[in-house]
């Protein structure tokens, strides 16, 4: 009897290709360097825009930041993935993180069951300052890991 199977082992689906969405100050205006959150303040509905070429199957989330922010994710159907904005180490800080707010090379937090996101859809992120002083949101890096599920001619050609 095997007592362990690794995460991410999936039935093979033709046309699935690994993909990683990266969101940070460089491609999300709401996370730009000049935006500051006061203690307790929440930045609502940061749009994480997905590409329109294929549906994305979300299987892992990894958020890194130097600061004690709280995070709350919402799916493209509007469903909350977290009850309230929780501190990073309770939500999307990967394992093997070298410090509470920095996740050098850590493994993502597994989303299981996987979350299908429609092609061209979006996820919404709420960011809350859980600290006692004002913080800049520019340190936030968000990685969404999973696969794109291509269909049609692309899948048939694989």
């Amino acid at each position: 009897m095997k007592t362990y199977r690794p995460q991410f082992v999936r039935p093979m689906v033709t046309g699935e290709e690994d993909f990683v969405y990266s969101f940070s100050q460089f491609n999300v205006p709401a996370l730009a360097g000049n935006i500051t959150l006061q203690p307790g303040q929440t930045l609502n509905d940061v749009v994480l825009q997905l590409q329109a070429d294929a549906p994305f199957i979300l299987r892992g989330v990894l958020i890194t930041t130097y600061h004690p922010f709280g995070f709350q994710l919402r799916t493209s159907e509007g469903k909350l993935m977290d009850d309230v904005a929780l501190d990073l180490h309770l939500t999307y800080q990967g394992s093997n993180a070298l410090s509470p707010y920095y996740s050098m090379g850590s493994t993502p937090v597994v989303v299981e069951p996987e979350l299908p996101c429609q092609s061209g859809g979006l996820l919404l992120l709420d960011v809350t300052n859980l600290y006692t002083v004002a913080l800049q949101v520019a340190s936030i890096n968000i990685l969404l890991m999973g696969v794109k599920r291509f269909g049609g001619d692309y899948a048939r050609a694989r």
Partner: protein
């Protein structure tokens, strides 16, 4: 899974990694530095299956990376943070399935520095994979893994524990959990640093299958030191080739396989007391425990 394997062929894989390296001089002001694109061609006489990426970079490395795969696709929508994308060893980034790269195709890595400091940066990446040589007439892929439950229900919820800790072999009906204890070592921390041997004799009429060793170390108030131990049996088999700090390194660690011991076998613990600080006084104590299963001899 590509069509060649789906047709029921087998493959022989030979591991191979491709290394990407780049360094900016230490004095380089990273702000405004142009992105660097490094490409590498897949060489050899068989397609190469890409399976994982490992990265070594400084903590707080202010660089982003974007990987272009041999089929022209980018792995990321935009360059992602190098420090959080991957590490190495058990924490490397693995792919959901292997990506088959034909001979002559290329992997390209774009490094985008953005930090404001005057720090140079070195980046080393290894793309792990294996050459795939096809052969006819095999069973095809084994797709049983996805059907396993993520967390099997059992007495022991530690998914990395050896299977015998959940009551599933190797073993036989009638095996009994049993723990032997060695005599107590009492060693003074003064004078000539000591060494010695203690032993435990196992019972007759049953074999013993040792599954882990536990060491209890205690010290008087002013005593310091470390016990180095070598464990061996009277058959001449030694569990380790030299003395080491067993209490810290293998204390309570489940063995990968049972250590099968004959009835009446004698287990020896050769020990040395080292690293005694100047001025130490009093005694150091150590006792070893051997946990495993006893199995009655068949008549």
């Amino acid at each position: 899974m590509d069509s060649e394997l789906q047709r029921g062929n087998d493959a022989v894989y030979i591991p191979k990694g491709y290394v990407f390296q780049y360094s900016w001089p230490y004095s380089t002001l990273m702000t405004g530095v142009q992105p660097q694109v490094i490409s590498k061609q897949i060489t050899g006489d068989a397609p190469w299956a890409l399976r994982a990426v490992q990265v070594q970079a400084g903590l707080g490395a202010t660089t982003q990376v974007q990987i272009q795969l041999p089929d022209g696709r980018f792995l990321e929508n935009v360059p992602e943070d190098l420090a959080s994308m991957a590490c190495f060893g058990s924490w490397r980034r693995t792919f959901t399935r292997e990506i088959l790269c034909p001979v002559g195709s290329k992997i390209s890595v774009t490094l985008v520095p953005w930090g404001a400091g005057a720090n140079g940066l070195s980046v080393a990446m290894v793309f792990n994979g294996a050459y795939r040589y096809m052969r006819n007439g095999g069973r095809g892929p084994d797709d049983s893994a996805p059907r396993l439950p993520r967390y099997p229900i059992g007495e022991n919820q530690n998914i990395l524990a050896p299977r015998w800790m959940s009551g599933h072999g190797p073993g036989e009906p009638g095996d009994r959990l049993y723990t032997y204890a060695s005599p107590l070592i009492t060693q003074a921390c003064s004078g000539v640093l000591p060494f010695g041997t203690i032993s435990t004799t196992l019972r007759w009429g049953e074999t013993f299958h040792l599954r882990r060793l536990l060491f209890a170390v205690a010290a008087d108030a002013l005593a310091t030191g470390t016990f180095l131990v070598r464990v061996r049996a009277d058959s001449g088999y030694a569990l380790m080739d030299d003395y080491f700090d067993v209490a810290h390194l293998i204390n309570g660690v489940p063995m990968a396989c049972d250590w099968d011991l004959e009835p009446g076998c004698q287990i020896f613990f050769d020990y040395q007391l080292v690293d005694v600080a100047p001025g130490s006084s009093g005694n150091m104590y150590m006792q070893a425990y051997m946990e495993g299963a006893t199995r009655r001899l068949k008549k």
